[in-house]
């Protein structure tokens, strides 16, 4: 169970990205976060694993307030929270395998990791994760030789190496074409359904939301404006979330 209480974020420039956001995520849920660009989706996701420091509020996970932890302890909790990004964020000049293995960094002795040494078990796990996303044959290629869809799969494999209990996905398919988008979403769905990993995923396309999400919250200008089932989003709700002039596509 993940509880977000009155979470606020004010950027140094004065922009208030989140305004007292409150919601709960039960374990094993597939939660979609929707909203316009700039509505605070990315900020929200990054506040959960504290890549961005929240200004106020609580993030209570298994009874511990993540927002209050000092950085070096937060690091230990971050290991259990995987994350995939819109721009994949692979280290392009490293091999696919190294990228996947870097998911283990939080668990291993730092001294060895400086020498790029991982245990045999980690190598086996990394190959297994690559097989799961179907690109085991690319393991020794440089990440920049891969297409966008392949890169996102590597990124999922990397996050899965953390053995996560929560998976944060920040618009994971926004840079991909519709066919690839579905295949990536299916991987996330599989992780959610088969392994019971809680998925919090920000999305742009409502058809993806309808198809994959158990529940939706919508942000507008830093406020939660909707919290419910995907099927509850009718035209009225849609206008509330996206503004009066918005039109549905797809």
């Amino acid at each position: 169970m993940l509880e977000i209480n009155e979470l606020s974020k004010i950027y140094p420039g004065g922009t208030q990205a989140l305004k007292a956001v409150t919601f709960n995520v039960p374990k094993g849920q597939f939660l979609a976060v929707i909203g316009l660009s700039g509505s605070g989706k990315s900020t929200l996701l990054r506040c959960i694993n504290r890549l961005i420091e929240p200004t106020k509020g609580q993030i209570i996970w298994n009874g511990i307030d993540l927002a209050a932890l000092p950085e070096n302890e937060m690091r230990l909790y971050r290991r259990k929270i995987g994350m995939v990004f819109q721009s994949f964020n692979l280290v392009l000049r490293s091999t696919v395998l190294t990228n996947v293995l870097s998911g283990r960094l939080g668990y291993i002795n730092p001294a060895w990791s400086f020498l790029n040494r991982f245990s045999k078990q980690d190598y086996l796990d990394a190959m297994k994760q690559l097989e799961r996303v179907g690109i085991a044959d690319k393991a020794f290629q440089r990440a920049d030789e891969l297409s966008g869809g392949q890169q996102q799969r590597v990124s999922i494999a990397r996050a899965m190496m953390q053995n996560p209990e929560i998976m944060l996905a920040d618009e994971p398919v926004a840079s991909l074409d519709p066919v690839l988008a579905h295949s990536i979403m299916q991987y996330l769905d599989k992780i959610n359904k088969e392994l019971g990993v809680t998925v919090i995923c920000s999305l742009h396309f409502l058809d993806l939301v309808h198809r994959y999400a158990d529940r939706v919250i919508a942000l507008n200008n830093g406020y939660v404006v909707f919290d419910g089932l995907p099927s509850e989003i009718d035209d009225m709700k849609f206008k509330e979330i996206y503004g009066r002039d918005a039109e549905r596509v797809g």
Binding site: N49, R75, R79, L105, G106, P110
Partner: protein, 609 residues
């Protein structure tokens, strides 16, 4: 959103003011830099300029073997009773010969020298040779299209003799093949020296700039935050750790030195220790522990770690000895390749020199990490008032200690007379500052210590960078004497600062995405650097290092002017001797090398990036 300007009139007045301001600015610039167009029109200056340019475009690259012929005639100066009618010449000959208007003249008298049958359109130097053989140039003339010249000159004073004296013209005739001039050979030697000077200084600069550059990267350092109490502990423990590390090394070295061991034992010991260290490391890191989980036996872990550390120190010391011994014996046996032996010996000596400092720094880092553990346990202890008291006491001690360290460093430079009193006062001032800070900040207040480190590192880089290596070399020449070694040290120091800054800017320019992603996996800051930053900065680092080498080649052409060795030394000498044709060779060599370096580095950059 910009506001629209209030009215076009105001706007044009603003523009007019800016234009007037600019005109004044450049007018001041002209007067300050003493722009003098009259000087450029002066005929003498133009003549000199043309002479130099002509010399510069005729570099002394190749020479012919020349056969010199001397055409002589005799004159009696001053006139005496010995009737001397000169040397008879046959006017029908085709060989060059000289005639004089008179064959007897007093010193200071005018005389006309005529030459026939010389090379056409050639510059001729006429020399006067008294019996003591000290040559004196009477003047120069150019032959016409018939090989004829006339020179009007005076008999030199103070060259009196009762014997006839010689007037001579030396002509050189090219013979044999074109060959490389001596200047070119010297230039080649020096350009090789220059290249290696630049290579060494770039390498050393790169080695030091690499780790330092991370401390000057804002995007990394602003993440580094530490609790107030931990900062105090660091300030206390860092110097103590350094001191202890230094002492340990000294004790170990003294202890080994008393053993007076034979060379064979040194080598065997070195190999044995290497094996032991390898096994120890495997033992230490074999079970990949999860950070944050405590090991069962802490005491044993600490004991084995410190044993390993001491073994490493002994090993390094023995290794330096092995290098020195091996280098010495190689230097003796290798003959012409003795320099390889000397290099190995130097490496050993460098290792021996840096060992105490390195161990000191390592020890202080260990002390600091111990400090962060201590501060964590202090912060975990429940009563708040106790935390506050401990924090205040620590900060008083820390800042008093810091001030004392600074004042004693200054004492080394300024040699204060009443150091005891000064120590007392600075200690008190530091203590007061510490007290105030301790009262203001809560023990767990997160101080952005990274920003402090960033500002200090950047400032040091900027100060070092602003002092040109040409100036630095003066200090190094005092230390290690004139020559390329002083030059490479000066360039290396400047390179550290310049590369450090350029590297750190590359770190600041990396794409944040991968860093964010690695951070999200729970990696610590150093792991984030190793996995997300370093792969991104390798290509620009290589590019900048090559660029800096190229720049150092250019700099080392100048550094010779101040005694730093390299081709600049030769260039300066030739310019001072007004030997512009030789100087031209050196300039061409510099241009060739610099452009070759440019192509080479461009090629390597393309291959790597």
């Amino acid at each position: 959103m910009k506001k629209k300007s209030k009215s076009p009139f105001l706007h044009s007045i603003k523009v007019a003011f800016i234009i007037i301001g600019l005109i004044i600015l450049y007018a001041i610039g002209f007067s300050v830099t003493k722009v003098n167009l009259e000087e450029t029109k002066s005929e003498i200056r133009q003549k000199q300029l043309i002479r130099i340019i002509r010399a510069l475009v005729q570099p002394d690259l190749f020479t012919y073997d020349t056969v010199d012929t001397l055409i002589q005639t005799k004159i009696l100066a001053p006139c005496s009773e010995n009737a001397f009618t000169g040397i008879a010449v046959d006017p029908t000959t085709s060989d060059p010969y000289l005639t004089l208007s008179t064959y007897c003249a007093n010193p200071g008298d005018a005389i006309t020298i005529e030459g026939f049958n010389f090379e056409v359109s050639e510059q001729i130097f006429v020399q006067f040779i008294p019996p003591n053989g000290v040559k004196l140039t009477l003047g120069q003339a150019n032959t016409d299209e018939n090989g004829h010249f006339i020179l009007e000159t005076k008999i030199p004073k103070n060259r009196k003799s009762d014997q006839p004296q010689t007037i001579q013209v030396k002509t050189s005739v090219y013979a044999g093949n074109l060959k490389i001039s001596g200047t070119l050979k010297d230039t080649w030697d020096k350009i090789v020296e220059t290249l290696f000077l630049a290579l060494l200084s770039t390498t050393v600069g790169c080695i030091f700039a690499l780790p330092l550059s991370f401390f000057a990267a804002k995007n990394l350092m602003e993440r580094l935050k530490t609790e107030f109490i931990s900062v105090s502990l660091t300030l206390i423990l860092f110097p103590i750790g350094f001191y202890i590390g230094l002492k340990i090394v000294q004790i170990i070295i003294r202890w080994i030195s008393t053993l007076t061991i034979s060379p064979i034992f040194v080598v065997i010991g070195c190999i044995l220790l290497a094996v032991i260290i390898f096994l120890l490391l495997r033992q230490l890191f074999s079970n990949q522990k999860i950070p944050g989980e405590h090991t069962s036996n802490k005491f044993r872990s600490i004991l084995s770690k410190s044993t390993a550390a001491i073994t490493v120190v002994v090993f390094c010391f023995l290794l330096s000895k092995v290098f020195i011994l091996a280098g010495d014996s190689l230097a003796k046996s290798l003959g012409t390749f003795a320099f390889i032996g000397e290099f190995i010996r130097d490496m050993g000596e460098i290792l021996e020199m840096i060992l105490p400092v390195g161990v000191g720094i390592a020890a202080s880092f260990i002390a600091v990490s111990l400090g962060s553990k201590i501060s964590k346990s202090i912060l975990a202890a429940p009563p708040i008032w106790m935390k506050k008291i401990i924090s205040v006491v620590l900060s008083v001690a820390a800042y008093a200690g810091l001030c004392l360290l600074i004042i004693n460093a200054l004492n080394f430079l300024y040699e204060f007379k009443n150091i005891r009193e000064i120590n007392l006062y600075t200690g008190m001032i530091g203590g007061l500052v510490g007290l105030m800070l301790g009262l203001i900040f809560q023990p767990n207040y997160e101080i952005k210590i990274g920003n402090v480190i960033y500002i200090i590192t950047r400032s040091v880089f900027n100060i070092l960078r602003s002092i040109e290596s040409l100036v630095m070399v003066i200090v190094f020449v005092v230390w290690v004497g004139i020559g390329p070694f002083a030059g490479s040290l000066a360039l290396a120091l400047h390179t550290i600062a310049a590369l450090g800054k350029m590297y750190s800017e590359q770190v600041e320019n990396i794409s944040e995405g991968p860093l964010e992603a690695i951070q999200a996996t729970g990696a610590n800051l150093v792991q984030q650097v190793v996995y997300a930053v370093i792969p991104q900065i390798i290509p620009p680092y290589i590019a900048f290092t090559l660029y800096r080498w190229d720049q150092n080649v250019r700099m080392s052409t100048i550094i010779g002017f101040a005694g730093g060795g390299g081709i600049g030394f030769l260039l300066q000498q030739n310019i001072n001797l007004l030997n512009y044709r030789a100087a031209s060779v050196q300039m061409i060599a510099i241009a060739v090398v610099v452009s070759l370096m440019d192509y080479l580095s461009g090629y390597v950059r393309n291959k790597i990036v």
